[in-house]
């Protein structure tokens, strides 16, 4: 996980001082991570819009960034709130049963288990999305941040503004549910 290096703070200072264009460097630095997270949380169709909104919110709140956590942690905090809002607002489609999910995944599973290198990034993300849809939004976000972005317990604690003990509890529950699904597939 990227620590809060001097260049992040330097860019933030420049932007706050009025050099709006410098913010593009931050976007380029974090667009990949953010899009990956949004994709896993809100799905492919809304991921780009969600990521744009998150960057906009980050820009407007830049004056409130105190530097006590890394910029990426702070950005993930904004992203979590935004994605959870989207999920709670939109009408939930009827949750597919696990059997229907396995049927849908069918052809993908042999390809992914046989091939250690995931050749098709799109299909992998699609599969992750299908599995994560089975979890609650809170379980989904904490799992995505831990597994995809490699956030430590401390960073997760800062992102969600909860204690590390609570992080462990939530992560445990999310994994327990996730593994129950995974066991049926693998």
């Amino acid at each position: 996980m990227m620590k809060n290096n001097a260049s992040d703070l330097e860019i933030i200072d420049k932007v706050i001082s009025g050099d709006t264009q410098s913010f593009e460097k931050m976007i380029k630095r974090y667009e990949g991570k953010l899009l990956r997270l949004c994709h896993s949380m809100v799905g492919e169709s809304q991921a780009e819009d969600a990521a744009q909104e998150i960057f906009l919110k980050a820009y407007e709140s830049l004056g409130q960034f105190k530097g006590d956590s890394s910029f990426s942690t702070w950005l993930y905090r904004i992203a979590s709130h935004h994605c959870l809002n989207i999920i709670s607002k939109r009408k939930r489609e009827k949750t597919e049963s696990l059997d229907a999910l396995i049927e849908k995944l069918g052809d993908h599973i042999p390809m992914l288990t046989e091939n250690h290198l995931v050749s098709n990034a799109f299909e992998n993300q699609q599969m992750v999305q299908l599995v994560l849809d089975q979890l609650s939004s809170e379980e989904r976000i904490i799992l995505a941040l831990r597994e995809m972005e490699g956030l430590s317990y401390k960073e997760l604690s800062e992102t969600f503004e909860i204690s590390q003990d609570l992080v462990k509890v939530r992560l445990f529950r999310a994994r327990k549910n996730f593994l129950e699904i995974a066991k049926k597939i693998l």
Partner: protein, 168 residues
């Protein structure tokens, strides 16, 4: 093997969140306990399968789109500012805001002061009357002074006129 490590500990071990001594202890246990090792391997395989890091697909021109939205918002904000009363003399917003705030505070002070003065006057009407009487007495005394000053002149003039009649 009777003794098993809790799933929580296995997950923490997988996440690399344990101390060195705890990690060594669990590693030793996993080497001899099939059940715990299976749990660990399942987590590892599922994570690898479902979350193996792949490069995110960044749509072309994504950062440019975001910057465009940011600049549009900034432009809109600037337009609103420029058309407003805050755009006096082209001063920065905060200076104009400070000037307006200070003016407003001064205005409030004098308004409150005027209201308080009126309230005080309304509370003590009797004093006003006394004041009026005093004022009246002053006016009358002025008139008396004038009369007195006038009278001798009147009498003098009269006497002068009589003398003149009989003065041949």
């Amino acid at each position: 093997m009777e003794y098993h490590i809790s799933k929580e500990k296995i997950y923490e071990f997988y996440d690399g969140e344990l101390t060195e001594s705890e990690s060594r202890r669990i590693e030793s246990h996993l080497a001899v306990c099939r059940e715990c090792k299976l749990e660990f391997e399942l987590l590892k395989e599922a994570s690898r399968l479902f979350f193996e890091k792949s490069e995110a697909i960044v749509p072309p021109g994504f950062s440019e789109k975001v910057m465009q939205r940011i600049l549009e918002k900034e432009e809109k904000r600037e337009k609103i500012y420029r058309g407003s009363v805050f755009d006096l003399f082209g001063l920065p917003r905060w200076e104009v805001l400070t000037a307006y705030s200070v003016s407003f505070l001064i205005f409030c002070y004098f308004t409150i002061h005027a209201v308080k003065t009126k309230e005080q006057a309304a509370k003590n009407p009797v004093e006003l009357i006394f004041n009026q009487e005093e004022t009246d007495s002053l006016i009358y005394s002025n008139q008396e002074i004038n009369k007195e000053s006038l009278l001798p002149m009147f009498y003098e003039s009269e006497s002068n006129s009589e003398e003149s009649l009989y003065d041949e």
